[in-house]
Every structure is written in structure tokens, then in C-alpha cells.
């Protein structure tokens, strides 16, 4: 009898082996209150040292919107500007901010928590998920600000607004998927954390946060100033049709804003759902595959 057989007969398992995917996911689900508590505690402790305290949760996105509003609303000309520009901008910035911050923070979730990872045994997946949850909890008050702002600027409240609940739930799941993939890659290749701010900035400028891709690059009908009309860059518009963050932003804006420009695009709903399922399923699998690797000190 070899030692391996002997170990098996005594009911021992190999150290460093990972549980099956199903067991693993069950274990993560059992830790859901860990995920939530960690997110909540982190937000509290982050704000404890500021004299304005929890008020920062609201103040930060407001200041952000103010700066971007000033820069893109006043300084930069009206080229590619859709109707309801200020509302368009606010929704874009708030939603994207959640995504970008989750991405950079979640990518570091394993590498920055090595003390915790090396002290206690628990499925490591809870760390990146807690990072996204933390950003999502911070995102919720900004949604409230967004809605108040929309009402204040005279946008009608419709039942369409309820659609943001499934939209943001989907977006949360999608972001979790992206972050799980990134968190594992950052363990193998730490330099990725340094690249992330640039990657998110690239997405910020190309996703259509402060200009409309359709307005800017779509075909223009003939007008007095431009009797020929322009064909635009249809391939670019087609490309962004398949860009998930653009899809999420578009359906969120369509749910909240009125007018023909913001008509709901059913295709985007389908694409966004497919992206979410695909990215989340792949992310969970991909992260789980390296579970035994995360505690390594080097």
C-alpha cells in the first residue's frame, strides 16, 4: 500500500488540492455575510478618519460630476452631444465610476490582503467579491442622487425607472466576473495592477461617457451647413454595439431618460445579459482554478 492509498483510507485529502467547483461555490455562498460585513466595515473605517465622515459617500460623486460637468459641459464644444446632455453625463459618470473603482480595487483584492489570506482558511473568492460589494454599496447613494437630480431637472418619473434595478443587478454580476478574472491575473503578474488605471481610463474615454458615440461617429443626414451629409464611421458604432459597458450605460440611460434618442434597444438587453452570464461563469471558473495558488508568499 502506498502512502497515498494509506492517506485515502484514513480519510485524508491532499493539502493544496482545491474543492470541486460546486463545493467551492457553496462555500462562497455560505460566506455571503462575510462579503457584506467586510464591505460595510471597510466603508465605515475609511470614512472614520474624515471629519465629514459618511457624508463623503455622497460628496465624492457630486464633486466628480461637478468637475466633469464643468470640463465636458462648458469647456468642450457641443460636438457629439446628445439631448439631455447633463443627465446623460451624470448617469455615465456615476455608473462608470462604480465599474472602474471595482475593477482597480478588486484586482488588488488578493495581493493586498496577503496577511488575511495567510492567516485563515476560507475560499479566496470572497475577497474580490467583497471589494465589488464595497463599491456597490457606495454606488447606491449615488443612484439616489442621480434620481433626485433627474427629478430636479424636470425629467418625468415613469415606470421605466424600475428597470434600473435589474440593470444594476446585472452590472454588479458582470463587474464581479471581470474582477475575478483580473484578481487572478494580478496574482500571476503583479504589474497588471499598475496597468489597470490606464485600462480603465482608456475605457472611460472610449465608452461614450461624456459624448454619444452614435452622435459623434454615426452617419449624419444632409443639413444646411453640410448639404452632403456624412457617412460617419458605421464600423465604429457597430463595434461599440458589442462593448458591454456601453450596452449597460445605454440601457440605463434609456430606462431613465425620455425622448427618441433614448428609446430602449432590445438587442442591448440581450447582449448585456449574455455578457454577464459569460463573464461571470468564466470568471468564477477561472478564479477557482488557481485557488491553491493565492496564499503563496512570493
Amino acid at each position: 500500500m502506498t502512502i497515498a492509498d494509506e492517506a485515502a483510507s484514513a480519510g485524508l485529502t491532499k493539502v493544496g488540492g482545491r474543492p470541486s467547483l460546486r463545493e467551492y461555490v457553496t462555500e462562497v455562498w455560505r460566506r455571503r455575510s462575510f462579503i457584506f460585513s467586510m464591505a460595510r466595515f471597510r466603508i465605515e473605517s475609511e470614512n472614520q478618519q474624515n471629519s465629514l465622515g459618511m457624508f463623503w459617500v455622497i460628496l465624492k460623486p457630486l464633486l466628480n460630476a461637478l468637475i466633469y460637468g464643468a470640463v465636458f459641459g462648458v469647456l468642450i464644444g457641443p460636438q457629439g452631444r446628445p439631448p439631455h446632455f447633463v443627465e446623460f453625463l451624470i448617469i455615465g459618470i456615476f455608473v462608470f465610476e462604480f465599474f472602474a473603482q471595482s475593477w482597480t480595487a478588486g484586482g488588488r483584492a488578493i495581493t493586498n490582503n496577503s496577511a488575511l489570506v495567510q492567516s485563515l482558511a476560507f475560499p479566496r473568492m470572497v475577497l474580490p467579491l467583497a471589494a465589488v460589494t464595497e463599491r456597490f454599496l457606495k454606488f447606491l447613494p449615488t443612484v439616489a442622487i442621480m434620481l433626485v437630480f433627474l427629478v430636479a431637472t424636470g425629467n418625468p418619473i415613469t415606470w421605466h425607472w424600475l428597470l434600473i434595478i435589474p440593470i444594476f443587478a446585472l452590472f454588479f454580476a458582470f463587474t464581479c466576473g471581470i474582477v475575478l478574472i483580473t484578481a487572478r491575473l494580478a496574482v500571476h503578474w503583479r504589474d497588471l495592477n499598475n496597468f489597470l488605471p490606464f485600462i480603465t481610463r482608456f475605457f472611460f474615454y472610449t465608452t461614450g461617457i461624456f459624448f454619444s458615440i452614435e452622435e459623434r461617429f454615426g452617419p449624419k443626414p444632409p443639413s444646411a451647413a453640410n448639404p452632403e451629409g456624412t457617412p460617419g464611421h458605421p464600423w465604429l458604432v457597430t463595434l461599440t454595439d458589442y462593448q458591454p459597458v456601453h450596452e449597460f450605460l445605454s440601457i440605463a440611460r434609456a430606462a431613465l431618460l425620455d425622448g427618441p434618442f433614448y428609446d430602449t434597444n432590445t438587442d442591448y438587453w440581450v447582449y448585456a445579459i449574455l455578457w454577464t452570464i459569460g463573464v461571470l461563469a468564466f470568471g468564477v471558473w477561472f478564479f477557482w482554478r488557481a485557488e491553491e495558488r493565492y496564499g503563496r508568499v512570493d
Binding site: M1, T2, I3, A4, E6, A7, A8, A10, G11, L12, T13, K14, V15, G16, E27, R30, R31, S33, F34, S37, M38, F41, R42, S45, E46, N113, S114, A115, L116, Q118, S119, L120, A121, F122, V126, H188, W189, E292, R293, G295, R296, V297, D298
Partner: protein, 277 residues
Amino acid sequence: MSTDPTEQSRPIDDLDDLGMAHPPVHVPKGTRAPVVIVDDVHVEYNVFATGKRPSAADRKSLRLKGRGKQMRTVHALKGVSFTAYQNDSIGVIGTNGSGKSTLMRAIAGLTPTSSGAIYSESRPSLLGVGAALLKDLSGERNIILGGLAMGFTMDEIEARYDDVVAFAGLEKFIDLPMRAYSSGMTARLKFAIASMATHEILIVDEALAVGDRTFRKRSEARIREIRDDAGTVFLVSHSMQSIKDTCSRVIWLDQGTLLMDGEPDEVIAAYHAAQDK
């Protein structure tokens, strides 16, 4: 029981190359089941002289060219084998750099083995000196999160909370962020959190060294308690008194090999004799 003479002071046999000729896993008479089996474990680190571990791609190219100038292979463990049984509390001794912590990290599943395998009943938790759990959060929050991470429910943590705080002796400081704690207080809290869970394999790597006398006595008592609860404890320490007080068996590592495995008094005497040489 640990006094079973057949189990003590086993000579360390050379491994035969044939798969069937491994030294038999020694199951003493009685019911004590093996909890951890360490089977011919080797651990090698490839380190750059700067201390940075090369990425997989670097390693490959360097191996093709022969060993690079700036890269060195540290053979931290060279074929260690032993079996730990239920209720064992095993002291691990050896000079600095003898491979104690590497062995403990390998048993905890944190450092993968280069060859050989480790089998265990449940995932061992390693308790070492080092950074706080989440240093920005208060001790209270760390207890809650630590408990949740180990899979306790909120109610279970609430039931244990007062015990943990009392054990760590941090009643006055529990609402302060852990970055304000001294290293001794941090170690106490970590030990208290980790010992919330029962029926597990606990590895204590010099974590008691920073604690004061009172705490050391208390944690040694807890280690014995865990052991009596059918748990298994590994204790790495340079304090022979701690080891004598808590351990039923001692392993002596030297330069990555297991020199001796047996009764505490005997192994410690041999270790001291070698040191004094």
C-alpha cells in the same frame, strides 16, 4: 496515547526507491488515526539575488541557458516525512533557516511542494507572526470578519465573542483599529480568533514569542485544550520551555532534513548537545 513506546523515537529510515517500499505509515495500537501525513516533501525556491521570485517565463529561459548568475535555488526542505496523529501536539525545533516555517507553510497549503505530498484531514490553519488581519479595522471587526471567514454564522460569533476578547485580554482596546496595537496585542488577537474554531489542525509559528508571560501560559493551555479536543497542534518555537510544557512530541529539523523525531526531552537534549558543540 502519546506515551505509547512504539511511536516514540522512531529512527528516520532512508526511503527506498521502490514505491511499495515506503516506510509504513505507523499506526500505533489503539484508535489514533493519522491526521497529517507528510510524505517525502521537497521544497525549492528559485530566487533572484534581489529576492524577487522570477516569473514562469524567466525561469524557463534561465533554465535553458543554465543557471543564471543572479538566480539561486534554495533547497529549503530536502525530503521530510512524518505522520501526525490525533491529539498530537508536535513541537518543531531547529536553528534559523532550518526549514521550520517552510514546512509549516507547506502543511498549511500555502507553499506548494516541489515533490512529495502532504495529506491532511482538514485544512490546517497557520498562525504566524506578521501583519494584522485587516489593520484599518478595529479588533472587534476583525473578530467578526475572522469568524465569518472561518464559516461561523453571526449568532455563533456573538456567542463566542466575549470569550475571544477575554482570551486576547484586549477588553480596553477592542474598539481601536488594529494598526494601533502592539505586535504582542496583534499576536494575541490573531491567536484568539484562530482558536475560535475547534477540531482543526492549528499551526503556531513563533506567534507566542511576542506575547507576555500571562498570555503564553494562557495560549499554551489553549493549545493543550485543542489537542485534547481531538485536534492536532504544531508549535514552532525557540523557547524549549514552551515546547516542553505543551508538546507530546518534538521534530528537529536541520538544513531542510528531519534529524530526529521523538520524545520532547530526548530530542531537546540532543538538539542542545548539537548546539553546544
